[in-house]
Symmetry: C2
């Protein structure tokens, strides 16, 4: 995956950014029934909030994302934030016009309250005792964050994949607080096949002998084997069959064209998967991974509306941009069309774009010209509505 | 999956069958370079070989299959052989006309020489030291079996999935010995995505601490967690997304409609996968599973013909029936079309059928009326050529 802008075009980078920890002192009652008396959220912001606090854009992250969406944490950092290609001065999410906020969600593992932080009641890590959170819980938590930042109404809320689900939930639960909802590479709820992938990932982690029922830190170990398998499995769903064929084909790593007749890395695709798995275990927490997959499984806003998604959207007031990618098989264009049809049935204002793409689900992170043009044009119009 | 015939229609069952162990005393040099001085193959046969030995049909099994394709091993056995729906008197592979042979392939774990049998050189189990075998090795081994059974030329060789690959290899390597080649739900070689699934399955098994580099029997354990994950992963590819939606949807196992907020089995599809995983570890060997996935990865008959599959088929003399299933995404109809196009380019006689189906890859084991009609009609014509 290539990263654009940033180093080569310093004028389009937000530059060096410093994360902040925001203390949310209000209690939050979760879908599971448990109440968190307070919690912390790690955030980053890019651009300047205007006097009317009307130019704020919230970025919701996906399964393994965090608050570091753009820029660099230091001058010598090599890799920018996860959506640097789209966020910055002159980029589709233009920080010259918008005040952009990105957070690490509740339950995350990058500094926000979650399994890797201390449970004040016990003085020990939350670990597996941290409650399973839902997309709705995240929206409630993000709403408390909005209050604290003085943002009554977001000019736009934007997210891809699991992030797009948060955008939909915002539009349904807090309609007065979202002007534009940008739902990218998402689904109205995940399929049985998606749940199956998640379940195997969970089993891989939970059956790792070093998982210790989630108390691995206390045992000075980590369920690396399981987490690695989970990530490898995820990557199968992030690339399309055609993209895998194009990138790896049946190429052998060794140039001699002979088979090994052993179980060492042999095909290029094996090398890719092992690399993805290995690099993930160094930066992600297994308990958080489990939580995130459950939030995905549980997301189903139509459920309390008799499985009628258009009834769920009946309360929404936002304008919508829905974007899908042609070769995404994790959340295919067919799933985005379900969202669009329900929005139309609910009488909402909706723009729909299917981007000709090559990678698959991962395309939502890529600087595809057609995709960025759609985002840019939509957000330019949204910026014109902003009253300063 | 439903089983038909058998108990309810005793007239179409081959009844109680007894497996036999066939000793192959000729040496066999494998693709990896190693030579097996001798090997055993477990087989079952149904029907009667005619005097000219011209009515014999070979059934090649897929990843987890074995020699027990039809009938029952005892009167009180509940479940018939794995392809009982298609093999028997009056069934599409009609044992009143054909002498049907099915074997457990070399490297298998149901009695044929493989990881679970004794290496005569050491007096200990082969285990992980059993060489990785290829589809071509299987065909060579099956040819030695054919010699022993007195079958110079098979009236038909039939296989689904990995079994279909053996059929193609037979037609290419031993053209004079195959009259009809029936290639069902197969591919000319597996894709990078297929290899990716295999690699994750292998990693799951090999990273299980109870794998012990394959010497788990010596440690009185089995890598059950890894093998279970591998099987669950396989099952994702055996059912289509639509079939999973139809069978499981997002149904919860508990009728109360409430989420658990824990990691117990919650959705029906989770229950299905865990059951499939658990029942598999009781009947299959992890070292054999690894071998089988490698045979799949390595299969690529076009490779030694400059990646030109039609050149590979240039040597074939068999007539072909190629069957694909509409919703199979493991080896989709597009993959079968690659086979058909190459056969046509090679000037072969080929019949192609795409069956409207509902399950996915698993459909090749199902008694779908249109599918069975295709098999039946094709084999009836083949039976007419048989000189007794």
């Amino acid at each position: 995956m290539t990263e654009t802008g940033a180093r080569n075009g310093a004028e389009t980078s937000v530059g060096v950014v410093t994360p902040r920890k925001i203390a949310i002192e209000q209690p939050l009652t979760l879908a599971c029934g448990q109440t968190l008396p307070r919690h912390d959220l790690m955030i980053e912001t890019y651009g300047t909030l205007n006097a009317a606090a009307s130019n704020a854009v919230l970025i919701c992250h996906a399964l393994s994302g965090d608050h570091h969406a753009a820029g660099f944490h230091s001058d010598d950092e090599r890799k920018p934030g996860w959506w640097d290609s789209a966020i910055g001065p002159g980029k589709p999410i233009d920080t010259r016009r918008f005040f952009v906020v990105c957070l690490n969600n509740l339950g995350g593992c990058r500094g926000s309250t979650g399994p890797t932080t201390i449970n004040p009641e016990t003085g020990r890590l939350w670990g597996p005792d941290f409650p399973i959170v839902t997309v709705r819980d995240w929206v409630q938590s993000q709403a408390l964050l909005s209050d604290q930042l003085g943002i009554q109404r977001w000019a736009a809320i934007i997210g891809g994949s699991l992030g797009g689900m948060q955008v939909m939930q915002w539009a349904i639960d807090l309609p007065a607080r979202v002007r534009h909802a940008l739902v990218i590479a998402a689904a109205p709820r995940i399929s049985a096949q998606n749940i199956a992938f998640n379940e195997i990932a969970r089993q891989a982690i939970r059956s790792d002998p070093e998982f210790h029922d989630g108390h691995y830190v206390a045992h000075n170990v980590r369920p690396e084997r399981g987490l690695k398998l989970a990530r490898m499995l995820g990557h199968i769903t992030y690339l399309s069959d055609s993209a895998m064929r194009e990138r790896f084909g049946r190429l052998l790593r060794d140039g001699d064209g002979q088979f090994n007749f052993n179980y060492d890395v042999e095909f290029e695709v094996e090398s890719y998967l092992r690399h993805q798995g290995n690099s993930f275990v160094d930066r992600f927490d297994a308990n958080t991974y489990l939580l995130m997959t459950k939030a995905l499984d549980y997301f189903d806003p139509a459920r309390e509306y008799g499985d009628d998604l258009s009834a769920a959207f009946g309360k929404a007031r936002a304008k919508f941009l829905v974007v899908a990618f042609s070769v995404d098989w994790r959340f295919s264009p067919a799933r985005s069309r379900e969202i669009v049809k329900s929005l139309v049935a609910a009488g909402r204002d909706v723009t729909y774009a299917v981007i000709d793409s090559r990678l698959g689900h991962d395309d939502f992170l890529m600087p595809i010209p057609q995709y960025h043009a759609v985002l840019r044009n939509y957000l330019n119009r949204a910026a014109e509505e902003v009253v300063a």
